[in-house]
């Protein structure tokens, strides 16, 4: 089968299919924008201009909430910093408009960086609270400071000019701000689908798994937060131009609430939703300001807040996904109906195509080995053709130490979970780590991979000390792992999970992602992810939501994900648990083939017989202490091991020993 055919089958790769939605959406939006000033009444035009201005901070906030999984309750603070800086640079320093605008955006980003650097180290609600505090500080500061004009604010600067045309009415201003919103929208959409964006949504599913694949969560979150403030600052720049006087009102808390409402209403993490939310909230606000005094005579002030509060509560309770969710499920219903209508005549053919395709992509590439549990005739010819074993990197020669653990200890209060474990793993071998329940195997794994910090002791990977560092440090150097309790990225599909394994092989950062300059790199990684899935017979489910797979296949998917990283050292935590007999056999074959290709593997396993059959060396932990280490044969006959597994009953011990021998 040709490569092109396969790529077409997989269909998701290619510029047009990948970007069709964005291109059509942006084109439609651009047409609407072009028309609005000709058709809208002057009051509607006013609403439209403010919607466009507020769409910018809303897009920023939606990136922060969707990608960094964090909420800013002080988005208005960054908006205000942008507006004030812009106005001050124009009015007091008489800088040209573009320079002042850049200054406004930069000031907002700098403020975010200063808050984000300490706050984003903490998880949970701390950033929300700190930004809330920042919001009040900014409001009070601009109100009290002579330089910012106290309660009057900054005024008396000129309107913007473009090619000598003064932007002095709402229609022109709308067109003035529109290109920035469109560009911002495209950049934000690109970012959500970029390497960094996908990494961050993986972090929201499982921070530990993402970091174990090399994602530096902290750095990415700081960048997204800073970027989000940049959007807010740009909104502030336009706001300053439009209203011609920047006063402390712009920093008020209810502006932050308004922005939050736009994003929540539009749908968390949906960039389009944020833009739609901006228009709806502005309309709602104007509408309520007219409506409520009509119903309740004498009502004045911020009466629109009643709508904000109600909508915020109702959306979170009834519609947690916001408008984005509504549109998405409506669209799915439409396409399903259309598909149902057209599918009948051609369904037989497509089923044929499917069944012909699946086995050909099963487990190819292992020399001289027929796929286990095949029963599918086509499988044999696959070995020859297109599926490959995942590439293996071997930075040290076989037999040389790749991982050196020395004196590794973990205490929880008075309990010693792991006690002074010293162990060297030579490259190019499979090492089995066994021991009874609670022996400290997973704790050892967690310390080696950086998921938890050891109380004492060192972990050297490729000669570099990595103990106590975050998981992405080891991962970047080529150490990947799977998890006993599966850590699936449930917000993406199976191939998306394996694609995340490619993270450390990618290069594109946030900027490249935003400008969409990483398509080729991404397609290549997706292609490799598909190949790896094929080799593990998961090709047929590549497009399914990862959470929908049965348990055993999720486990296989995690192994694929770890392999996609092309690790030098692979740590598998109970990879066989929950697998069917044929899946176990398939996995064992793959592990052997990988070992032969030079990969070093450490696996924790409950199934002693499996480990004995597979491993070159076996280490045994009991009560946190390393009680034996050597080749399977000597470990099997070690009296300490027998006692550890079976207590002191010699008769039973012998029976078990016999059973073990029979099995091997």
């Amino acid at each position: 089968m040709s490569y092109l055919n396969k790529a077409a089958m997989r269909s998701k790769t290619g510029f047009w299919p990948n970007n069709r939605g964005t291109i059509l959406g942006v084109a439609a939006f651009a047409v609407i924008i072009a028309i609005i000033p000709f058709t809208a009444s002057s009051s509607m035009m006013n609403i439209a201009v403010f919607s466009m201005i507020f769409a910018l901070p809303a897009i920023g906030l939606s990136l922060l909430m969707g990608l960094a999984g964090q909420v800013s309750l002080g988005q208005a603070a960054f908006f205000a910093i942008g507006a004030y800086t812009h106005a001050i640079l124009l009015q007091k320093f008489e800088m040209p408009g573009p320079v002042a605008a850049v200054g406004g955006v930069a000031a907002a980003m700098l403020a975010a960086l200063l808050i984000g650097l300490p706050m984003l180290r903490l998880r949970g609600h701390y950033l929300a609270l700190a930004t809330l505090g920042l919001g009040f500080i900014v409001m009070i500061a601009v109100r009290e400071w002579e330089f910012t004009g106290r309660t009057t604010g900054i005024y008396g600067y000129g309107r913007p000019e473009v090619f000598g045309i003064p932007i002095d009415n709402n229609g022109l201003f709308f067109w003035f701000v529109a290109p920035f919103v469109l560009i911002g929208l495209v950049l934000a959409l690109n970012l959500t689908r970029s390497r960094a964006g996908r990494a961050l949504s993986a972090v929201n599913d499982s921070e530990l798994a993402a970091e174990s694949l090399g994602v530096n969560t902290y750095a990415l979150r700081v960048k997204v937060f800073t970027l989000s403030a940049g959007f807010a600052g740009l909104g502030g720049v336009f706001y300053a131009y439009q209203v011609q006087i920047v006063s402390p009102q712009v920093a008020e808390f209810h502006v932050s609430v308004e922005l939050l409402l736009m994003v929540v209403l539009g749908g968390l993490g949906s960039v389009w939703g944020a833009v739609a939310g901006a228009f709806i909230v502005e309309l709602l606000s104007e509408g309520l300001r007219d409506l409520i005094p009509a119903i309740i005579p004498g009502a004045t002030g911020e009466v629109q807040l009643i709508g904000y509060g109600l909508v915020l509560i109702l959306v979170i309770i009834l519609l947690p996904g916001g408008l984005y969710q509504v549109v998405k499920s409506a669209w799915a219903a439409i396409t399903r109906r259309r598909a149902d209508a057209s599918a009948k005549p051609s369904s037989a053919a497509s089923v044929d195509g499917g069944s012909g395709e699946v086995p050909t992509r099963a487990f190819g590439g292992l020399p001289g080995e027929a796929p286990a549990g095949a029963g599918l005739d086509e499988a044999t010819d696959a070995a020859a053709s297109d599926a490959r074993i995942p590439t293996v990197s071997t930075p040290v020669a076989a037999g040389q130490p790749i991982l050196e653990v020395s004196g590794l200890t973990k205490r929880y209060g008075g309990v010693v979970a792991v006690d002074d474990v010293t162990l060297t793993v030579p490259a190019g071998q499979i090492m089995g780590l066994i021991g009874p329940n609670g022996a400290g195997k997973t704790t050892c794994f967690n310390m080696i991979t950086g998921a938890i910090a050891p109380t004492s002791g060192t972990v050297r990977f490729l000669g570099e000390e990595i103990q106590g560092r975050k998981p992405h440090v080891g991962a970047e150097a080529g150490l990947t792992r799977t998890f006993q309790n599966l850590q699936v990225f449930s917000s993406t599909d199976v191939v998306g999970n394996v694609y995340m394994g490619r993270y450390r092989k990618g290069r594109a950062g946030i900027l490249r992602g935003m400008f969409g300059l990483q398509g080729r790199e991404q397609y290549a990684h997706e292609e490799i992810a598909h190949d790896i899935l094929d080799s593990m017979r998961l090709g047929d489910v590549a497009g399914l939501a990862a959470g929908d797979l049965p348990f055993g296949r999720q486990r296989m998917m995690e192994v694929c994900r770890a392999l996609a990283a092309e690790p030098a050292l692979l740590l598998l935590d109970e990879p066989m648990a929950g697998l069917s007999g044929s899946e176990r056999e398939l996995l064992a074959q793959l592990l052997r083939a990988l070992r032969d290709a030079g990969l070093t593997i450490v696996l924790v396993e409950h199934d002693v017989a499996q480990v004995m059959a597979l491993a070159d060396t076996v280490a045994v932990l009991d009560d946190g202490v390393l009680i034996a280490h050597g080749d399977p044969e000597s470990v099997r006959n070690d009296p300490a091991v027998i006692v550890a597994y079976l207590g002191t009953d010699a008769e039973e011990a012998e029976a078990e020993l016999k059973e073990l021998e029979d099995q091997s």
Partner: protein
């Protein structure tokens, strides 16, 4: 010196309001892991409600009692109608959700009571002067309310079986159910306590600090800053922190400029979050898995 002491007294009385609100916030946070942004609005609601009742001719104690009971019920109602409806209520979602509740409550208060600040008549008692420092009787009522109501909640949570079971229901819902307290009941009780404590803060402070529709947010946030000083779990640290916050604010207002007073709490918040996010009493906990 007299100035200094006078400012300290004013700070303590203002701090006692923050302390009561902090106690309310911790009461719900320990049980439900909800950061209730609407906590301060309970105070304004009770203040404005009792003012209307007094204006309608009811005696002050009766008006206050009705206001306290109504706000407690309102808090329970909010828990049932809003908080309990969200299935996967993370702390972040709870912040957005209760922000919605707070905004709604404020808008309702604006529509009912209008935009001007209102004052409840002072409680009975006579002002006294100690070594040149004058102490208003209302300030003693405020501190007294903290001792009785705040102290009562603290003892309930820390010393009684019921209180301990309530706290346990956040950490161990299954275990709590085994000892006979359902998470739903625990949540209702916690919100009732939060409502009552917030309402108490509102009525005792109204004669001096007035009640205005939008005042609750800032009050609640300052209570929140105090609660963060206690790591959102320690009542004692939060109460001490709240009193300190009140005093520092009072000094800033007296010696620097009254306009900057409201910014103090947030500078403290950010500094504490940077230095000791787990609060001033707890050992920082670095568990990441």
């Amino acid at each position: 010196m007299i100035d200094f002491l006078q400012l300290t007294v004013a700070g303590l009385s203002q701090g006692s309001v923050y302390a009561l609100l902090a106690v309310g916030l911790i009461a719900t946070y320990t049980v439900r892991h909800v950061v209730n942004i609407a906590q301060g609005d309970y105070a304004t609601l009770a203040g404005l409600g009792s003012i209307s009742l007094v204006t309608a001719g009811l005696p002050l104690p009766v008006a206050i009692l009705i206001a306290l009971i109504s706000v407690t019920l309102a808090s329970v109602l909010i828990e049932r109608l809003v908080i309990a409806r969200v299935k996967n209520l993370t702390t972040l979602v709870s912040i957005i959700l209760t922000l919605g509740v707070s905004t709604l409550l404020q808008a309702i208060m604006l529509l009912i009571w209008g935009a001007e600040a209102k004052r409840l008549p002072a409680f009975p008692g006579s002002d006294l002067t100690l070594g040149g420092v004058s102490i208003r009787s209302q300030e003693l009522w405020m501190l007294g309310a903290l001792v009785v109501v705040g102290g009562g909640v603290l003892l309930f949570y820390e010393k009684t079986r019921w209180g301990k079971a309530l706290r346990a229901s956040a950490e161990q819902p299954v275990a709590a159910r085994i000892v006979g307290i359902s998470p739903a009941a625990a949540s209702v009780i916690a919100f009732a306590i939060a409502g009552f404590v917030g309402a108490t803060a509102g009525v005792v402070s109204s004669p001096i600090y007035l009640s205005i529709w939008s005042g609750g947010l800032l009050l609640g946030l300052k209570g929140f800053v105090a609660a963060v000083l206690g790591g959102l779990v320690s009542f004692r640290a939060a109460i001490v922190g709240a009193l300190l916050l009140g005093i520092i604010e009072s000094y800033v207002a007296g010696y620097v400029a009254s306009g900057w007073k409201d910014a103090v709490a947030f500078f403290i918040l950010i500094i504490v979050l940077i230095i000791r996010p787990a609060g001033l009493v707890l050992r920082p906990n670095a568990v990441r898995v």
